[in-house]
């Protein structure tokens, strides 16, 4: 009788220990799961940040390429003006060439430089109400996709009137 009772008590103790072990395991798995979800969330945001950084870098590079293009920079005689000056006549001519549908080779050439971007020259001063103050140099948008915008203040020089206006280059870099 005493032997039977002792056996029953021991069995209950073992059951309690098993339940304890299972509870500890469940808590441990729960903690691991929370840790993993945190880690994967952090990884995801880190990858997104890297992608944003890459797109920003690309956008900035294209803005700088445009800014220092000899096709657009002001020149006096044989000297290139390098302090952020865009020659209005050169700009109009290049814009007309790129956007001329009869000469796709020109646009294809600049696609190799600018890729999927839209580049605008926007005149901020003198700002004339009711007049177009924005001129497209190049446009190759991806419809429905996001874009990164970079602005660069520039002087716009008109060689005919010999006057400087104030404006900025606006580069929208499209990425999917």
């Amino acid at each position: 009788m005493t032997h039977k009772l002792a056996k029953m008590v021991l069995g209950k103790k073992a059951q309690i220990r098993m339940v304890e072990t299972i509870a500890v395991l469940i808590v441990f798995i729960f903690i691991v799961f929370i840790g993993y979800s945190f880690y994967s969330g952090w990884q995801k945001s880190s990858i997104n940040a890297q992608l944003r950084e890459i797109n920003s870098r690309e956008s900035v590079q294209i803005a700088l390429k445009t800014y220092f293009m000899p096709e657009l920079q002001c020149s006096f005689g044989t000297k290139l003006e390098t302090t952020g000056c865009i020659d209005k006549i050169k700009f109009d001519k290049l814009s007309a060439m790129i956007n001329d549908h009869s000469t796709p080779a020109v646009k294809n050439y600049y696609y190799g430089i600018f890729g999927n971007t839209e580049i605008n020259l926007i005149k901020a001063y003198p700002f004339i109400q009711g007049q177009t103050n924005s001129n497209i140099l190049y446009s190759s948008k991806i419809s429905g996709s996001s874009y990164k915008r970079t602005q660069m203040p520039v002087s716009i020089y008109d060689p005919i009137t010999k006057r400087y206006s104030f404006g900025y280059l606006q580069v929208d870099y499209y990425f999917s």
Partner: protein
């Protein structure tokens, strides 16, 4: 292993987990994200290019004088009417004080939501001109902005004085 040792092990694991949690909290909430390359570029390039372009721009309202000529004229003729006259019977100082901001800053820095401080420091003269956005009034505010980019230009006058023009961008 004795029961007491097991309990100490358990406590150690709990402390390690709490520390890991703290590291995550510090990483995601307390530490500010590093400014991206675009923000750095914006601050560094925009400030200097803005100032360079601004100073050589011809102002229609003031007989096509450049902004740097207006600044120089305002200093040289402070207290009297400047040589360069502007529309609406105003002079170079009045233009710099009243119209420069709306003509050049409204369509650019204000539109791009970049807080700035612009100042023209005339030496030994109380005429100093300042434009600020309210977010960028205090210099070096690390709690609010990760950095403040400064661009500076010097303008020489006929009397040999040097006027300093500053543009600070907060980012």
């Amino acid at each position: 292993m004795k029961k007491a040792q097991m309990e100490i092990m358990g406590l150690a694991i709990i402390i390690i987990l709490l520390m890991l949690g703290l590291v995550f909290i510090v990483k995601f909430t307390l530490l500010k994200p590093k400014a991206s390359i675009q923000e750095d570029f914006a601050s560094e390039q925009i400030s200097q290019n803005f100032l360079n372009s601004l100073l050589i721009t011809n102002v229609q309202e003031c007989n096509d004088a450049t902004v740097s000529q207006l600044i120089s004229d305002c200093y040289e003729h402070s207290g009297s009417y400047g040589i360069i006259s502007c529309e609406l019977n105003s002079d170079s100082c009045a233009y710099l004080r009243d119209s420069l901001k709306s003509d050049f800053f409204e369509n650019t820095l204000n539109k791009w939501n970049i807080p700035y401080r612009f100042s023209i420091d005339f030496p030994n003269n109380p005429l100093d001109i300042n434009y600020n956005t309210k977010e960028c009034i205090i210099r070096n505010v690390p709690d609010t902005y990760s950095k403040m980019e400064n661009a500076q230009a010097k303008i020489g006058t006929l009397s040999g004085t040097t006027i300093t023009v500053n543009l600070d961008l907060c980012s």
